[in-house]
Amino acid sequence: MAGLKLDRVHAAFGINGVDLSVGEDELLVVLGPSGAGKTTLLRVVAGLLPVASGTVHIGDRDVTRLRPGLRNVSMVFQSYALFPHLTVADNIAFGLIVKDVPKAEARERTAKAAATIGCEHLLDRKPFQLSGGERQRVALARALVREPDVFLLDEPMSNLDLELRVETRAEIKALHRRVGGTMVHVTHDQTEALVMGDRIAVMRDGLLEQLGTPEKIWNEPATTFVARFVGSPAMNLLPGDGPVRPPDLFPEPAWLIGFRPEAVVLGQAGDPLGSVTRVDVVGEDSYVYLSVGEHSVVARVPTAQRPHAGAAIRVGVRRPSVHLFDAATGRRT
């Protein structure tokens, strides 16, 4: 197994100098909004898009100018890209067949990959007879069968319903633990990223915004962008000298104070007064949208303790749960 290293990679469609290295048994999740360049990055690694400058290494091989077929990577597409005219077995074996692997060996490896994924009972079916989840498994088995150095997964769960998605992300993580290898998983779903990733690379406008473990991304977001992109509802960001700030924090107008909705304290004497504009009940928890002066704050409170819309209530936050950012650069200070 190998590992993957990108060195100052520039490419068309908005990859503007990405440095990234993924360990040989690591599952890296690339997270970002639409248009951030996540899928483009994956296609650059696969060799489907040419690199304008910089280098791509898989293990110690420089694959920057290598055609996709020689890179020993495999890819699971968002659409799964299964061939409708082939059975599941032939779909899985496609890469082996075109590489002229002997038939008996191809059959054996196909059966093994199918067993690993748990789709051995589907081998004789055609893709149109499969459910979305089953198709996704077949696409995974096909990615597995060639034992590639790098697995690339391009939003493979975006076509699944929520329940199946929750199940599948655990399965893919477990699969990765079993088979090892370098895996790069692209998603725009922050929960998926937090649950699955050994590390998360947050992308924005073709650049890496932050690279770190899920804990690090959650607890120490490097920029206001990461802070607001990860977490739902998004983190509150207020001016350093604004109304809502920890009482023991010296106000500094060049700062932005960030705090998650969970950290908002409601109804404590001494805090500034705000008014409730809207309350969304989401099961156990409720999201309370408040306006404090000219600023908006979102709080997450247990539904039983939610205030009513229109009520006036004191809004505050305490020292340990705030993040400070430089207002000019958006970077963590």
């Binding site: 060799g47 055609r67 597409f77 005219h85």
Partner: protein, 286 residues
Amino acid sequence: MKKLLLPYLIGLVALVFLPFGVTFALAFTEYDLINPPVWLGTGNFAELWGDGIFRTALKNSLVFAAIAVPLRLILALALALLLHRRAFLGGTGTTVAALPAAIPEIAYGLLWLWLFNPLYGPINQFLAGSDGLTVFGRTPPGWLTLPNDARAGIIIMSVFTMGEMFVILVAARRALPGDAYELAAIEDATGWDIFRRVTLPLMAAPVGLLLVRDTILSLQLSFTPALVVTNGGPPPYATTYLSLFVYRNAFEYLRYGYAAAATVIMLLLTVAAVAVQWRLLSSRRL
């Protein structure tokens, strides 16, 4: 809603079913447009069976279909795969490939009459060297004078009018999903493998449909060229196809019954060919 189908239904009955019924009935009669039809039973079919000209026409039509249909399809598919990308000169290429199909058949035939001319036609001028022989040392083809060369000529004429098939196949190729090809690239499939294992199976439906349709049309395709360019010759009947045979009998010899019987045979042949292809295609269905 059902009322909206009425005009179509009337058209279908008046222009398709009625003529078909009349033709079918006439096939069992002798009819010359002047005297009332005379019932012959299966007499026309018996006469066709023994008619050497009919047999020649039948053979000519079958050979033509067996060669021209696959050739047209292969050329249309090859050009579609070559020109489906929006690239430099791609638009020009597409226009050039599609254009011959847009020329009126008679004009197209007259054009080839000139192209095929053995003395001053550009094809033979191109083929013949200064000694009047081709590079293989034989005389250039006698497109209008030798039976086999004339049959080849009619096939060549028909091949270049595959423009409509080409346009359909370009559209079909453009509709194929890009990720299938990206996957093939990642799995390192080579050009031939990509064609055989990706492109062709994914385009099987439109290609199969065009094959069936072109087979149906093939009995008519040869009509205008044979009439305009070779006039059914070289003598006696080298390029007399079923369609021309029917035309001659009906409109030149005024033997409507006899022509109708030949038409019925033509129809049965078409149905048989389509049935065979349909079965072959269905057995390979998804």
